[in-house]
Point group: C2
Chain length 284, copies 2
């Protein structure tokens, strides 16, 4: 934006809309939700996070910032808010903006249907720091870290899932995400050329075959990713990537291991898919 | 639940409500949002995730499952949905439930205000696997893993933030969360007894003091956490935890390092707070 407008007044066609995520907590809910709605509009948005708005003073301050954005943009800012307290919410609603109030919109019909009043406590996306669920998540993160990249054969009996795949097929981020988001203990093991020569799964895994889930990836994409890391190496060469992927897929087929391709999927999509697969095995 | 009801018909006062999270994607948005609304009601909920509902057939199947839950519970299930396609959404709406349709509720007013139609593409909470933002996140995760627990002094110049604190003060999960959720390159360094004797920060960090952010924790809580790991050890003893925390806080004060307590905070809250602090330094 080096071409400053010549008139110092409101620019008539601002290149963007300003979007605010206002929350009395972390703002993660407002932001996650806002993103998934905004991706449906092919526009550029300037995004501003305003977390921890938990006093009237901060609410007035937030309102002032929304109004400032309106004055600068000449267009109504879009305000995604998750303010549990009605008085704070009311203050924000006075700002000049298009208001997407997630809580107020849905809490009232819920109160009616459930026949009880909301406690109007500040929403926390993942419970409080001392809850059982929270402890499980931290434990799962530590477990997944200790069992990253085949680091340890210990306690594999405790794993909820063991991801396998060639180097850079997406195992590590997926394991960490499963732990962080869902409290799933996810170990991960690389399938390496030695395994392909032996034509066997790493021996430490044999007892846990029912927990194994494979990740594969298109050789072209794998080569691209590996080249970013070790440009021009044999490791990254397309021919080598093709060889490894072929062998890995053949092994998974032979061993009856479920697998999916990570090529065009985000971590979230891979994790959610694996979660469904694990669940189908057990209860739900 | 060993006491089965004697009458095999609809239990009149079911112990729970069934809640569905229905999505054409991972369901993370519906679930994150649903949780933060439901935590405001002191009730037990049975939660069922139905991700990847992206065909009419799957939508009808989801509808059938909601109706089944209604038949069993004798109470309307609560249905949080994020279905972008209007035809799929319409199918779900026919299920007997209290519908919280996140997309349809907000997309229409947005279309009106923005003056353009939504593309009705399936929302993805974190963009597609090939976007620049996505690559940054993966890079940040790899960076944070490689710089966990003081493993490496290399490339600290690339860090967006360097977390310091005593062992088990919450550095590792926070670093990984910052990377995963926000694409922040977060290194972390333990403050250990040797540092307290020397009364100096680890020497590798001195050049990056402006990027350091400290985590502290109440000694009682720290002792509890460490005792889960190494019960009865000196490491976990309350007296030792008190010593380490005192020294760590004294050092941070002396060095002018910003810090916060992780005692009662979730990873999400710690991460969002740090993010605000980092931002205030730079742009926003």
């Amino acid at each position: 934006m080096t071409d400053a407008p010549t008139l110092p007044t409101l620019p008539m066609a601002a290149a963007h809309r300003t979007v605010f995520f206002v929350s009395d907590g972390t703002g993660i809910t407002a932001e996650t939700f806002g993103h998934s709605v905004l991706t449906q509009f092919e526009l550029r948005f300037k995004q501003i996070r305003l977390p921890f708005i938990d006093t009237l003073e901060k609410a007035y301050d937030a309102t002032r910032r929304v109004n400032e954005a309106y004055a600068i943009d000449g267009k109504l800012p879009i305000v995604f808010s998750t303010l549990v307290k009605a008085d704070l919410s009311k203050v924000i609603q006075e700002a000049k903006g298009l208001h997407m109030d997630l809580i107020q919109t849905f809490v009232e019909p819920l109160e009616k249907e459930l026949g009880i009043k909301s406690t109007h406590t500040v929403g926390r996306s993942h419970n409080t720091a001392n809850s059982e669920e929270y402890k499980n998540r931290i434990e799962a993160i530590n477990y997944s870290l200790a069992h990253d990249d085949g680091q340890s054969n210990k306690n594999l009996a405790d794993a909820d899932v063991i991801l396998v795949g060639v180097s850079r097929s997406g195992k590590t981020p997926t394991s960490l995400y499963l732990a962080m988001q869902y409290g799933i203990k996810a170990a991960n093991y690389p399938l390496i050329p030695e395994d392909f020569v032996r034509e066997k799964l790493p021996s430490g895994l044999l007892a846990y075959k029912h927990k194994i889930f494979g990740l594969t990836i298109l050789p072209e994409r794998l080569s691209e990713i590996r080249n970013e890391r070790l440009p021009g190496s044999k490791y990254a060469a397309l021919s080598n990537c093709r060889y490894e992927i072929n062998e890995a897929e053949a092994m998974m087929r032979r061993e009856g291991i479920r697998w999916m391709s990570s090529t065009t999927k985000s971590i979230e999509e891979i994790a959610a898919t694996i979660l469904q697969e694990i669940k189908t095995d057990n209860d739900e």
